[in-house]
């Protein structure tokens, strides 16, 4: 019996997934394609699984939201493929995986970094059902800040209605604050702490 694999080609698949996340953070609001890991156990999405496997290891404590933590297969799969410590307190987590974006926990509960070391903050990987330039998505947000020439628009589903206010509070902490990587079905888009987010009225 063959050993279970995450990436078929661990070196190059991890590089391509990282590059997509890097481009997403460098250009907030753009959708960067990621080939998902179809072997990931539900409710962990294939794209979120690929991002986690590409970036997490024994140095990065992971926090799982209620829905992911309720599925024992998810923690076992992540522990096997990344070696990361699962179930860290949110304030200690390097990465937080969120399957239930609608009840996104208080962002202030995650590691915010310090004024001297603002990089020591949590990166949230948030699963969403729709992402990108999709007209039917429940929510459209307008983005501005570093990485964006003028402004950008992103269509996204599943996020709570007050997300713009919560991200504004996160942005106000700069240089401290968390960064969000949104994992859609086909790829990722990111909302780093530098991005100013406003809701576009439908």
């Amino acid at each position: 019996m063959a050993l279970a694999r995450a990436f078929a080609d661990p070196v190059h698949d991890a590089q391509q997934t990282f590059r997509a996340v890097m481009n997403a953070l460098a250009r907030p609001g753009t959708l960067q394609p990621v080939a998902g890991l179809t072997g990931a156990p539900a409710p962990l999405s294939p794209v979120a699984a690929a991002v986690a496997v590409a970036l997490a290891d024994y140095e990065t404590p992971l926090w799982l939201d209620g829905r992911l933590a309720a599925a024992p297969d998810v923690a076992a799969w992540l522990a096997f493929h990344t070696g990361a410590r699962i179930g860290a307190a949110p304030s200690q987590a390097a990465f937080a995986l969120v399957a239930d974006a609608g009840i996104l926990p208080d962002l202030a509960g995650f590691a915010q970094g310090t004024d001297v070391y603002p990089d020591r903050s949590t990166t949230l990987i948030v699963q969403v059902a729709e992402l990108g330039p999709i007209a039917s998505a429940a929510m459209r947000v307008r983005l501005a800040g570093p990485g964006i020439s003028g402004h950008a628009t992103l269509a996204v589903s599943c996020l709570p209605a007050d997300i713009a206010d919560r991200l504004a509070a996160n942005h106000a902490l700069f240089p401290r604050g968390v960064d969000l990587v949104l994992a859609g079905p086909e790829g990722v888009a990111a909302l780093p702490r530098t991005t100013r987010v406003t809701l576009v009225e439908a």
Binding site: R27, D57, P118, D119, P146, G147, P175, R193
Partner: protein, 300 residues
């Protein structure tokens, strides 16, 4: 392009996967906090500190098999540092390399920014010797960290003011400090100040790696980068009184080259690719006719 035989026994692009993940995580935080220096666990590389170990580690962490890599030492593709780093990646990753700015997806540099405007499809990786702009004003890392946290940059303005008091103008010509998005003061690496304006609102992602000092920092595309100055002493990029002796360019950064022991000298483009391209387009500098065939022939 040539396909290179890669050395066996090494992982793709030399670094092991755990090291790459550590560097990649630092790069992501650097992008999220433009101009802030993220500490990272810099590895010993098969080249000495000062030869670009920071840039090499950043390039190795982002490089993929589909990339085309260009490496420049100042503006040149053909000097020792550029050639050896290019060969290092040919040997350890097998990626395509190029000297043409427009063809490259990743450009590693010490420390110039190419004359050709960079695009959104490119990443510029800087090799950085001393990432801390306040280091020569305050030697203690604990203090400079707090100064950045408190946005306490008065000392830097005093330094620039002392330049004016002593020389009548701001005499810093390279590693000229910049302020990023109105927050962090950043060392642009010892880039000639001629190139500082190209950092502002650049379409390409810019990544900075300091191996010995173990720091990574970044400028996302379209980030506001302002060279520090005073209202009555505004920042001025270097200007040249000469045109390039080989291609006649008047808008590029020039190197002064001594040509004999009798005071003879010439000024030529530091960006060799840009200069070759201009010569290929038929631009001729005043000394091109006297140049050896290897150079003059590039115009054919």
């Amino acid at each position: 392009m040539t396909v290179h035989q890669t050395a066996s026994g090494y992982n793709f692009a030399y670094l092991d996967e755990q090291t790459k993940r550590m560097i990649r995580r630092a790069i992501l935080k650097a992008i999220a906090i433009p101009g802030y220096q993220v500490p990272f666990a810099s590895r010993e590389m098969p080249m000495p500190y000062g030869w670009g170990t920071g840039g090499v580690q950043v390039t190795a962490a982002i490089l993929g098999s589909g990339d085309r890599l260009k490496v420049i030492d100042q503006g040149a593709d053909d000097t020792t540092n550029a050639v050896s780093i290019r060969k290092f990646f040919e040997k350890t990753s097998g990626v395509e390399t190029t000297t043409h700015t427009a063809d490259a997806t990743i450009i590693q540099t010490r420390h110039r920014i190419p004359e050709k405007t960079l695009t959104a499809d490119q990443v510029l990786v800087y090799q950085v010797p001393i990432p801390e702009p306040l280091r020569f004003l305050e030697p203690r890392e604990t203090e400079t960290r707090v100064m950045h946290a408190l946005e306490d940059y008065g000392l830097m303005h005093v330094k620039l003011y002392e330049d004016i008091a002593t020389h009548g103008h701001i005499a810093t010509t390279y590693a000229y400090p910049v302020k990023v998005e109105d927050r962090y003061v950043m060392d642009p690496s010892p880039t000639p100040k001629f190139d500082n304006p190209k950092m502002n609102d650049c379409a390409a992602l810019q990544l900075f790696g300091a191996g010995r000092e173990k720091r990574i920092y970044a400028l996302p595309p379209h980030t506001k980068v302002v060279s520090l100055d005073f209202e009555d002493h505004p920042f001025e990029p270097t200007k040249f009184d000469h045109a390039c002796a080989l291609c006649g360019a008047t808008h590029t950064y020039l190197d002064e080259v001594i040509t004999d022991d009798a005071g003879g000298r010439m000024f030529v483009c530091s960006d060799t690719d840009h200069c070759e391209e201009r010569r290929a387009e038929g631009h001729r500098g005043e000394l091109l006719g006297e140049a050896p065939a290897a150079i003059a022939g590039a115009a054919e």
